[in-house]
Subunit: 564 residues, 2 copies
């Protein structure tokens, strides 16, 4: 009997169900009703609710509340610093059963091969990893990336079953100014989903961006911005990453009235946060604590998310949908006691049965050997643009400071919280080194460097001491990428991320422990930020206002040009 | 400049907009906000809201409220008794800008040619007529239709730009019992939209039906039924036809919480009701009168409808969406002062500019000439199944009455409100005549007959007098189909519907006037029902419980078999 016939037969009870969840109650995300009764599952699909069923297998979920699996509507798995399959093992047990990812970090380093790596991983993961095709690699022409993805490459990558359209279109100036290459990419995905990215865009500029047919967006950082985007036909994705934390600002917008048009996403979240706070489950708990109704939050986390991205086969515990189910002790705690992905229980046994995928990009760090004097900032004028960090945001302020020139060099000054920031090209293309100032780390000594450096993933380094900056950057080349903290001419702590300089080959538990050590090392330098490494990495992303730095120099994002 | 570039340029204000609506306010269906400012339109698309725009053309909508065009999510245009293009002229000015129709009445009479006729009409209409492909022609094997549509025919009809999947799958017993032919049709539309129809289905049977992947449904007649269907993942379409009136029963289910998952439809609505009460505009007004919030009702009428059927390009007045706009004097009155379809003003000039489509099926009535004695009900047992009409519903009751046999015939008895009902095969296939009893018309004399006779569209006739029944049926053959009322051996009133015996070639105003005369004639026979003709027509539809009649005989729909 074929799959369709078996589903109908098991739903009707003419045939014994493959699996029955017994004793729980289903939270219906449409009516808000709590529905008692068995949940019958045939293969990967739910085929019955609200009735008694016989099952070849049965799981007791007595006293638990069943909700549909959560959907992370926008993320870069690379930011978890672990491989896609390790990410699966890390977050699926928290109830995340679908992750709509954009592998553009990997693509910026090794191109098409990086996207194919994610596509292959999606074939083995327990959760459903959906791969949007990266739209902006490199994100702009003001940076040196390791690779470039053009419309022809995208054509070759289309058609994989994990596909879900074009990933966040970050080059919003390219859209509103109708760059020919940008228009080609949009036309290639005409009628398909094109995900958005347009921080602080408003008024007629936002009208223009929406006129290109873009209907999902995750860069709203204020309630007002979210509201305008909703009014203009965008589904707004509330983001809570490790750096970009928009949940508190956007929470008031999530009501029973808007919930069908809002979703949740993490964008960039590290394993330390996943371990200490959680993933989407953390967002769900916190939104309820802040006053959102459980229905609005769970709806946003599953049903609305599914609808926003055309995943009509999921988002509700209802017959005919994918059996992505989370059994919770309570709605308030969002404490997953059992997670099913397409009818399979997500436990260690299931994770260990998965096929494996060979890592790629293992030799991607080709940085020049640097000397302390490479970090001098030679200049004759005191008036200086300084990147001002906004904690918990990836947007920055464009500060102006007068900094004295000594021996032709404008030196860092920890008393004024003015640290050197440098970006060193590491793809073996030109050996560029760009230098500037940053305020906000409160770093007093030493240096830290990382090959996670959005989105071009060169090496970004922040420090007070030029020798420590050289130590940390040179160490990164030795360990094939990662994060290093140095002080007194020696490495204090490090983590190796040899997969494209972005991801570890270790289990998430080791990466979490390594990050803890790194965080402590950073604190010993005086750094006060809760998450200094991702915060540093985003200072290099020239599609987020206002002042950023790439290997080409300082970027005024509002002007969309290099200013030094 | 291509369309995409022009839209973006006009949205940004870099180029003058093609058209600007000035001075109104937009009701945003997501946030509920009223947004002042111009609405800029480029070609068929909205490109800007909430800002000032220059336009090559401008329309003053000062003081009006702009809402997105309404979407009738399920209807048979044939039931309006006018051609598709005349239907367009009739209802578009009321604000209906999309009609998702199932041409299965036409298909039951002349098959594939009937569906192609609608597809062609959709290319010329001002509103967007979307054609779902008829799934169940004939609706069952217990009737003689003029044509049959099988999976091979559906393959040929797929791919027209008006397509939107498979139309209402009425053969719900075929689904839950996994009939091979039914499974073939479902597989042919795997991953596409398959519309539902499963009156009174509940429990495990409904689970089975939903397991087939069907996610929209319009046959709920009670709040309880609607709620179960919502819980099981179906979008519920509230229907208010000329006979099936479910709006009052379902209104309590439409709340701010459920509105994103509910839609409106008319299914079968005649031009008399359209003229006297309205179309979806009538439903919108009435739902608000009954206590629904304006936001919930307008959301169901547009945004939710668009999402339910995957029409992502409409449903909100937002940049990048189709310029389907209704300007209202007030939300409460739903009084369209101006309607735009894809950026074109729907006025008489625009209607007269449309291309025309040649009518088809002009010689479809091939009924035998009948004599009065053909309507005798020969029987020996007094115990008789009687169809019991439920006014305002197309479901019926299965009544049991003792009816005396006189001279071998069980005669109608108007004192007990027991009229003869007969169905005469009219496709020239077998000349079948089936006879039975019906209660509920309160007809005292004469007869009425119609070639609208769902869904096989044979001739259905209800009467007290056998001679008048013969007069009315024979007259239908002469006028190539329509509706006839006869009394005293002569025709009292009639309307000719020569297009497949279903639709007039006249303007809707004439059809409305003709129906008024017919209704008065029916009243002169004692008939009390407000809409006797469609009510009679639905007594022949064997996929709606409980007792129906086709040319094969009486159908017990609950048993799904012929019982006499």
């Amino acid at each position: 009997m074929s799959c369709l016939e078996r589903r109908i037969a098991q739903g009707r009870g003419d045939e014994t169900a493959d699996l029955v969840l017994r004793g729980g109650r289903v939270l219906d995300l449409v009516t808000g009703d709590m529905i008692p009764g068995d949940v019958a599952i045939c293969g990967d699909a739910i085929v019955g609710i609200g009735e008694d069923y016989d099952g070849r297998e049965a799981i007791d979920v007595e006293g638990l509340i069943l909700v549909p699996g959560f959907i992370d509507t926008h993320l870069h798995i690379e930011s978890s610093m672990i491989t896609p399959l390790e990410f699966d093992r890390c977050v699926t047990p928290k109830g995340i059963t679908t992750a709509i990812c954009d592998p553009h970090e990997m693509a910026n380093v090794i191109g098409v091969e990086g996207i194919r790596y994610f596509q292959k991983a999606s074939e083995h993961a327990l959760m459903d990893i959906r791969i949007q095709l990266s739209s902006c690699v490199p994100s702009t022409e003001m940076e040196t990336a390791g690779a470039r993805i053009d419309a022809e490459d995208l054509k070759l990558l289309k058609g994989h079953p994990s596909g879900i359209g074009l990933a966040e279109f970050m080059n919003y100036p390219g859209i509103i100014h109708r760059d020919p290459e940008v228009m080609d990419k949009l036309r290639l995905f005409d009628g398909q989903h094109v995900d958005g990215h347009c921080p602080q865009l408003s008024g007629r500029d936002l009208n223009a961006y929406c006129s290109a047919g873009i209907r999902t967006e995750h860069e709203a950082t204020t309630a007002e911005e979210a509201r305008e985007k909703l009014q203009k036909g965008m589904r707004v994705l509330i983001r809570e990453g490790s750096v970009s934390k928009d949940l508190r600002a956007l929470q008031p917008v999530l009501t029973d009235l808007t919930a069908s048009y809002m979703c949740l996403c993490t964008d960039d979240r590290n394993p330390l946060d996943m371990a200490e706070y959680g993933h989407l489950d953390y967002m769900i708990r916190t939104l309820m604590e802040l006053g959102c109704s459980p229905l609005s939050v769970y709806r946003a986390a599953a049903l609305s998310a599914a609808e926003a991205f055309g995943l009509k086969d999921r988002g509700q515990i209802a017959p005919g949908r994918r059996a992505d189910i989370v059994a919770l002790g309570s709605l308030e705690n969002c404490d997953a006691k059992l997670v099913l992905c397409a009818g399979k229980v997500a436990d260690e046994a299931a994770f260990s049965r998965r096929g494996q995928v060979e890592p790629v990009g293992l030799d991607s760090v080709r940085a020049p050997t640097v000397r302390p004097e490479d970090f001098r900032h030679e200049s004759k004028v005191e008036r200086t643009s300084v990147i001002g960090i906004v904690e918990g945001k990836i947007i920055t302020e464009h500060l102006i400071e007068n900094i004295p020139v000594k021996c032709g060099d404008k030196r860092p000054d920890h008393a004024r919280d003015l640290a050197r920031i440098a970006v060193v090209e590491r793809h073996g293309k030109n050996g560029n080194i760009a230098r500037g100032f940053v305020r906000g780390f409160e770093i007093k000594r030493g240096a830290m460097a990382s090959s996670i450096c959005h989105d071009h993933h060169n090496i970004v380094c922040v420090g007070i001491d030029y020798s420590d900056m050289a130590v940390s950057v040179n160490r990164l080349a030795e360990i094939k990428g990662g994060i290093v903290v140095a002080d007194g001419g020696a490495v204090l702590a490090e983590i190796a991320l040899p997969v494209a300089g972005l991801m570890s080959l270790e289990p998430f538990e080791s990466v979490r422990d390594g990050l803890l050590e790194l965080r402590n090392a950073a604190r010993s330098l005086g750094i006060s930020l809760e998450e200094p490494f991702l915060q540093m990495a985003f200072l290099a992303l020239p599609v987020i206002p206002s002042l950023k730095i790439t290997d080409h120099g300082l970027v005024d994002v509002d002007l969309f040009q290099i200013i030094s």
